[in-house]
Symmetry: C2
Subunit: 378 residues, 2 copies
């Protein structure tokens, strides 16, 4: 480690370790599971908060060739990292000029007839202007609704001119295999594809992380995992086949004893029934460690849990270390806020949310340490 | 507006407007309220998510001369912006080398006897080495506990050598004026100050934003507002005397009609009882617009509320615009996620949290527009 890095780590209140080798391993597992479909990589939202500048090249190294982002701005960043990748922009054209997509070599996933017409008007017969097309089959969020799909079928020439390289839809309930939408949505997608009668080099895609685990009928030609790459369990209430990617460690800033009957933190929401030993840690909700974890979450000191007591504040939180041997929890000791005993999904459950939000909320003040894709597992 | 700015705004899915003139006005209001005490400015956590590079100079322009940050790294940034400011670091020395604080001209607020000893060992008789000292009076988070304060009093020479320029404590329940800790904590603080018998140029400080509104007895020599500068109401259930600072606007990406009985979003958590008109917006929890707002929050189209329907997803959310005239809610129309009708505190209440967390969660993908401190109010 360079001297400057060592100094930054020493002064850091918390260290976020991101295991690029685990991301690469997860990519390979998902690609094998989806084969013969192609496995793309979703790197929107700064690669789910983990840093697209490191994650996108690691995925490329692992064999990923097609990438999905949310916006034109994100796509431009990924293009700068990966000159030869195929990059789709999921928000469609939004306010962007079609020329901006062409200049950056990005393919918008068009969401409506209005966007189709805008794209064709701007790109005309430019053979290198490729796009995706999003058909809504039950998510009701983005994508052409049934009446627009019908109109597109009736008007065969528009689709012929558009020559989409991707037709996609998106599952609403893929993490819950038994949900009826997991049968209805692919059926609607197949019906639309049959009626659109598309030709040429075009990939069909429905499955994201969870969809890959719904079975081979759901993979079509291309799958689009995001969360699973980053270690989030794809199916509710089932074992997680992915490797953990993230570890969040923080340093104890201060240790104190408090008397029985005393309180801690804003609003004095926790009162101690007995004398207790507390530790204060320099991570708070401004670091994305959500205030919803107040009096609910916990951290690990080695393999022992220390509950969060009182409210999580902006830059600090307090844990009860009464049951932990003193020598293991002193000023300067490191604790796991996310780690082997409390992975992302577990922290999310305690916060009343999903692992995706824990990842995308990861703060900017952490010292970030990347384990290279070539390195040994953490 | 420059052409590049105009292009970035056009492609932006959402625009975050930060009113520096309102921050300056709030500073002046708080300073007048706290006078004759000095009014500092708290700019930790990137000025509560609003951008310290813009906010700190605006506060300096408004007359603020003393600033508080959380960490050494944050202090170094503020020092680069404000060469002549007094800057205190609230997390104490943490892992930083005392020499790093001296080099950057930062004053750590020492939290424990251990830190006092480390500081004195490193700085010796350096007359320019100034520090704050944090006494805990009931927050039990950071600061010297009673037994360490007693020991410091017994050992008069250490305090004499330390020569703190600031002695501070922190209220736990200042937003709830009737809470008994608001009487007990200042009493403990006064007792400790009397027994410490400090001399020289030293300021005493307890009140942050809410504490300023607890009355003149709580102001001591220096107050430390943060949240109130940024428009958050200082007292629960009372009118907010501060100006709003933040407006968050987003563009409608797509509009659709859905049939009665259909569902929207992940988990199909919202089912429409009647035919409805929906709009999709390019803001999600990866932008800090919390998933807790799923099926609870709302946005404003002009002065009409449109409820969020279904789950907030990573990059998108969906609103029901059935009751809004069609011409006001079309593709490209702008809506307020935070605005005159739904200020930060109101959004926070819907999300089950406090305005502080809404601000510090504000995402990195927004196009940020700053209204200059000299400009007219928004």
């Amino acid at each position: 480690m360079a001297a400057a890095d060592a100094s930054a780590e020493r002064a850091a209140l918390a260290i976020l370790t991101i295991d690029l080798a685990a991301i690469a391993a997860n990519y390979r597992l998902l690609a094998a599971k989806a084969a013969p479909a192609e496995c793309a990589g979703v790197v929107k939202a700064d690669a789910y908060g983990l840093g697209v500048a490191k994650v996108a090249p690691a995925l490329w190294q692992a064999g990923c060739r097609t990438f999905f982002v949310a916006t034109l701005a994100e796509g431009t960043v990924v293009r700068g990292l990966l000159p030869d990748a195929i990059i789709y922009v999921l928000a469609g054209l939004h306010g962007g000029d079609p020329a901006d997509f062409l200049t950056a070599g990005l393919r918008p996933v068009l969401v409506s007839r209005g966007e189709v017409d805008r794209w064709l008007a701007a790109t005309g017969d430019n053979a290198s202007a490729r796009v995706g097309l999003h058909l809504d089959t039950g998510m009701a969020r983005l994508g052409m609704p049934p009446n627009e799909i019908d109109a597109l079928i009736a008007d065969g020439s528009t689709l012929k001119r558009l020559r989409p390289s991707l037709i996609m839809s998106h599952f609403a309930c893929a993490d819950t295999p038994e949900h009826p939408l997991n049968r209805e949505q692919p059926q609607r997608f197949r019906d639309a594809l049959a009626r659109l009668a598309l030709q040429g080099d075009m990939k069909r895609s429905m499955a994201a992380s969870s969809g890959i685990f719904l079975g081979p009928d759901h993979a079509f030609d291309l799958v689009r995992p995001g969360a699973a790459l980053y270690g989030i369990a794809p199916l509710a209430n089932q074992p997680n086949p992915l490797r953990q990617v993230v570890r969040l460690q923080a340093k104890i800033l201060q240790v104190r004893r408090v008397d029985a009957g005393s309180t801690v933190g804003y609003g004095a929401t926790h009162r101690f029934a007995r004398q207790a030993r507390l530790a204060t840690i320099g991570v708070g909700y401004a670091d994305g460690f959500m205030r919803a974890l107040s009096n609910r979450g916990g951290v690990y000191v080695g393999d022992r849990r220390a509950p969060i007591v009182g409210r999580v504040s902006m830059d600090l939180l307090t844990i009860d270390i009464s049951d932990i041997p003193e020598e293991q929890a002193q000023v300067g000791s490191w604790v796991d806020l996310i780690g082997p005993h409390n992975p992302v999904d577990a922290v999310a459950a305690e916060a009343g949310t999903i692992g995706y939000e824990i990842l995308t909320s990861l703060g900017r003040r952490y010292h970030r340490r990347y384990l290279d894709a070539g390195a040994a597992p953490a």
